[in-house]
Amino acid sequence: MSGRFSGPVKRRIVLGVLVVLSLILITVYFRESGGGALHNIQSAGSTVLRPFEIAATRIAHPFQDLYNYLRGLVNAKSERDRLQAELDRTRKRLIKLQFAAQQNKTLQSSLKYVSGPSFPRDYRPVTTEIISKLPSQFQQRVVIAAGSANGIHEDDPVVTADGLVGKVSKVASHQAQVMLLTDEDTAVSAVDIDTRAEGMVRHGHGPGTTLFLDKVPKSEHVALNNRIVTAGWHQGKLSSIYPKGIPIGIVSSASFPSTDLYASVQITPYVDFSSLDSVVVLVAKKR
């Protein structure tokens, strides 16, 4: 090649070929279905890369633990953890009881009410670890070490013991991409279990993990520290992809601007998205 082409020409040919190749890849990837050739190649490639990613994660784990420990020392980590664990246990128990009480009250008040499938019965858990993450400034997504081989499908809800994490956005054979609750494209129908006010939980455009409960009428008096859980609606054959009653967060700010139709409600999520190590994918038993 060097004999036939001079240096600058060779450089430009290489650059041109690579750019065209990239554009072809992008175009084909967009145009083909999820089961297309390029998606299958990517799936196979991600399976090949998986051991390297897991190895890197494990090698880095002690350093991450040290980093987390040092960071925690500054904030009186041990005391906070103890109190947080106690608070979490109490909060989860309380949410469960209050939601059950509310559900019971609703069922008693309306004989025609038909309860949807309950969360624990209709799903089986797939516990898996997080092996990589997309650049956080663009998309809030992580890759988990389980995929279609484990029964995971697109849109399956993802949780931790603390609450809702997000949903599966792409699936490969042994890996899946999870769109976090803090991604700008995520929207979850949610309900305030104290006031029964319903709305959509979204993430704002700013940094941080604060969420917003949109479309809540001002007549609903959402107050500070109210608990927000997934609404889990059903309408005919359609249903929310999230089962009802999964904790999302706690109201950290609520205001009722006179210039707006809806209340402005901010939520602090229960899940600490900065230290996610493993998650549980809820795989529906029946599809």
Binding site: V14, L21, L38, T57, K133, L134, S136, Q137, E184
Partner: protein, 174 residues
């Protein structure tokens, strides 16, 4: 040449795995260090535009595959990055002490704008405010801090000797 290619490929592969497995999860002050971008800059500076472009393309493919992101997006951006920094190295940059820091600084900023533009065109964009105002300044700082150590390490791995003094004068031969 082939051994150089293997070394550069191994460097970029390891950097890509570290980036997607570890560093993408590290967010300090809203920014994330881009170890892969810094490594690509170093390899391109040391080995030129063709190495930069080819290395960038394959490193980008590794990232797109590992993160199940749209195939070709990171490859396209890294190809252009590697080529551009490689040309800078081939022309004026290679023997200048500040070249690694300067190129990493400029590329970090341009890469953020280019990535935002490409992702906007693909309908995947994050908010410009978040990418450019919140995440870019700390990411730029982290990348600048990484620039020289990574450059020195890459130079050592690629067995390049210490940088020579730049040519100060030209003597005409009759």
């Amino acid at each position: 040449m082939a051994l150089d290619g293997l070394k550069a490929g191994a460097l970029l592969f390891v950097a890509a795995v570290i980036q997607v497995s570890i560093l993408n999860s590290v967010t300090v002050l809203g920014g994330t260090p881009d170890f892969l971008l810094v490594t690509l800059c170093a390899v391109a500076l040391l080995r030129g535009s063709i190495f930069g472009a080819v290395g960038g393309f394959f490193a980008g493919l590794v990232v797109d595959t590992a993160t199940l992101d749209t195939m070709g997006v990171t490859a396209l951006l890294f190809t252009l990055t590697g080529y551009w920094i490689g040309r800078y190295g081939e022309t004026t940059g290679r023997r200048r002490q500040y070249a690694p820091v300067l190129s990493v600084g400029v590329v970090t900023i341009l890469y953020a704008f280019a990535a935002l533009l490409v992702r906007f065109m693909l309908g995947q964009g994050g908010s410009p405010e978040r990418v450019l105002l919140d995440a870019l300044p700390p990411s730029l700082l982290f990348n600048l801090l990484l620039a020289l150590p990574v450059y020195w390490f890459c130079r050592w791995v690629l067995s390049l000797g210490p940088a020579r003094e730049p040519v100060r004068e030209v003597r005409l031969i009759e």
